[in-house]
């Protein structure tokens, strides 16, 4: 093996000088969460970098719902799951239909709708939250899962429509023309030509909507309040209500809550990075 030249070694050292701080900066908050999850309370609160007696006891308490703050853990986990799945499915339905209509059928006024959707995309979600809360009260949906589902579909759809429209504009028109020549109806084109060709983008958008809903804190905490209706992030926020919060259990629950989205993200990374970042900022 050839020894690296001084110049190469210098370059490598430079890169490490950037890489190590980047690694530490990224990992410290996540490691700290993990550390709490495997530490008994005394170790967690003593600021140790590794517990004297690492344990899975905290996980046991969470999974057995053996604490006041955790008595509805499974219900809340289920709420998060159902809401995320519903938001994913509804967003896909609404956005795919709209994108197909605007991009392939060139419906009159489609461009206007696209621009209105884009406008919604650029309103900061925290600003829309205030009137949204009031609106859900008017509709009588507060403390009903539908309020959060519909709010998240509202927030997820604009971007979904935009990405799907960009992707479908790239499909050749000849495909539709050929299908029409073969006597396909509009719905058949949608089902048999459009949806199969759009699969990669649909996976990306479905994942995007599911993660958005699973991770949402603000809307969930405004719209839902009963202990058995709330989602996991709201339950995590509620831990802070007590002065002597069981932080080791809070971090354990948080760790469990963070695992599914991280797993989904890495599983669909190929689709996500291509489909979403390229669409986020068109250069």
């Amino acid at each position: 093996m050839k020894l690296p030249t001084l110049r190469e070694a210098g370059k490598e050292a430079q890169l490490l000088l950037i890489g190590i701080p980047v690694f530490l900066w990224t990992m410290i908050p996540i490691y700290h969460m993990f550390l709490f999850a495997i530490s008994p309370k005394e170790d967690a609160f003593s600021g140790k970098l590794w517990p004297d007696h690492p344990t899975l006891h905290n996980f046991e308490i969470v999974f057995r719902e053996q604490h006041y703050f955790l008595r509805d853990f499974y219900v809340q986990f289920w709420n998060s799951t159902v809401i995320a799945a519903a938001v994913g499915a509804l967003t896909l339905l609404v956005a795919t239909a709209a994108a197909f209509s605007i991009s392939r059928l060139r419906v009159p006024g489609g461009r206007v709708v696209m621009n209105l959707a884009l406008f919604t995309y650029f309103i900061p979600a925290a600003f829309l939250a205030v009137p949204m809360y009031r609106t859900m009260a008017t509709y009588g949906l507060l403390n009903n899962h539908w309020s959060l589902i519909l709010a998240m579909v509202t927030i997820a759809s604009p971007y979904a429509i935009w990405v799907l429209k960009q992707a479908s504009d790239k499909l050749p028109v000849e495909l539709d023309e050929a299908a029409v020549m073969d006597g396909a109806t509009t719905l058949q084109i949608f089902r048999l030509v459009y949806v199969p060709l759009m699969m990669p983008s649909l996976v990306a958008i479905g994942t995007y909507a599911v993660l958005l809903a699973w991770n949402e804190y603000l809307y969930a905490f405004l719209l839902l309040s009963n202990d058995r209706d709330i989602t996991l992030p709201v339950a995590l926020g509620n831990f802070l209500a007590a002065d002597d919060s069981p932080w080791e259990l809070l971090m354990t629950t948080g760790f469990i809550y963070a695992l599914p989205p991280a797993a989904v993200y890495y599983a669909f990374r190929r689709y996500m990075v291509g489909g979403l970042t390229a669409g986020a900022v068109k250069s």
């Binding site: 690694f23 990992m27 600021g47 609404v94 059928l105 621009n115 205030v130 609106t135 809070l250 989205p261």
Partner: protein, 289 residues
């Protein structure tokens, strides 16, 4: 379901007579989104603006010291937070395009803050900064023998920490976007520059930057809009405290809402519109080209 019949089945309907079946389907398929838009965007915004119409709201806001403080905090958050974040992202995008196996692995880890939900990680940072039991002050004590600062009880430090949390959370996303920008630059340009003996700064100044500046500026503006709506970084770390001194506009609106002052909440949001709407207009022009 009448509208799903083919156009010829509906006699003497002027609209459907002019539309071909695909166009009728086009309208039908667009209706779900239009309904969502009307019910959950148009109605809430219209209602909110109606609530915020009274000038007395704005007088009340003007007289509320917390509002003035929140407006200043928001400006600091935007001007300092975003520029630091984007400059680091620009720098790191150059680092991550280096061809090394370990850098490839690091880039997989680097995405984590963006891939995991904010709540547990921000709360994790919050405990790290706890003056008595947090890890940071334990480390400071063991290194220097002195007590560390009371991080989140000092408004300046607390706001700085909230900006730090925001950068931690969103840096991976913007770095990823700028990496795509860098990868789009033709490699020949860099080789030609190397042959001409250009330093790394000259390569950046005359090759990288000219091809990336539009993307960089678009990202900065987009990030401004989104950062205005960043509720979690401030609310979960400081809760707006101490003494309501670290609020930003997004948390302040929610604070008024929680105090049942809905029209004040809407008015505080309306106050942000002169900044938001030009940005939105600009972004829409860029994206709908």
């Amino acid at each position: 379901m009448a509208i799903t019949l083919s156009a010829s089945d509906v006699p003497s309907a002027p609209l459907s007579a002019r539309l071909s079946p695909p166009q009728v389907w086009g309208i039908v398929l667009l209706v779900p989104y239009i309904l969502v838009f009307l019910a959950f965007v148009v109605y809430p915004i219209g209602y909110g603006l109606w609530l915020a119409r009274a000038p007395s709201n704005y007088v009340a806001l003007y007289n509320d010291p917390i509002f003035a403080r929140a407006a200043i905090n928001t400006l600091i958050f935007l001007v300092i937070g975003i520029n630091i974040k984007m400059l680091i992202a620009l720098f790191l995008s150059g680092f991550f395009v280096e061809q090394r196996t370990w850098i490839k692995w690091l880039s997989v880890i680097f995405i984590l803050p963006w891939a995991v939900p904010s709540i547990p990680t921000i709360l994790s940072v919050r405990f790290m900064l706890n003056p008595e039991w947090g890890m940071v002050n334990h480390i400071i004590f063991s290194l220097t023998g002195d007590d560390g600062p009371n991080w989140l009880n000092d408004p300046t430090i607390a706001l700085t920490m909230a900006i730090g949390v925001h950068v931690w959370k969103s840096l991976p996303f913007w770095t990823l976007i700028l990496i795509t920008g860098r990868l789009a630059i033709s490699h020949d340009l860099f080789e030609a520059a190397s042959v001409d003996g250009a330093t790394w700064w000259q390569k950046f100044r005359y090759v990288t930057w000219p091809s990336m500046q539009t993307l960089y500026i678009t990202c900065t503006l987009l990030s401004m809009i989104w950062t205005l709506g960043d509720f979690n970084s401030v609310y979960l770390l400081t809760g707006g405290g101490p003494a309501d001194l670290t609020h930003v506009l997004s948390t302040l609106g929610i604070r008024y809402l929680r105090l049942d002052q809905l029209s004040l909440a809407m008015a505080s949001i309306v106050c942000a519109m002169p900044f938001v709407l030009p940005l939105v207009y600009f972004m829409m022009k860029r994206l709908s080209r």
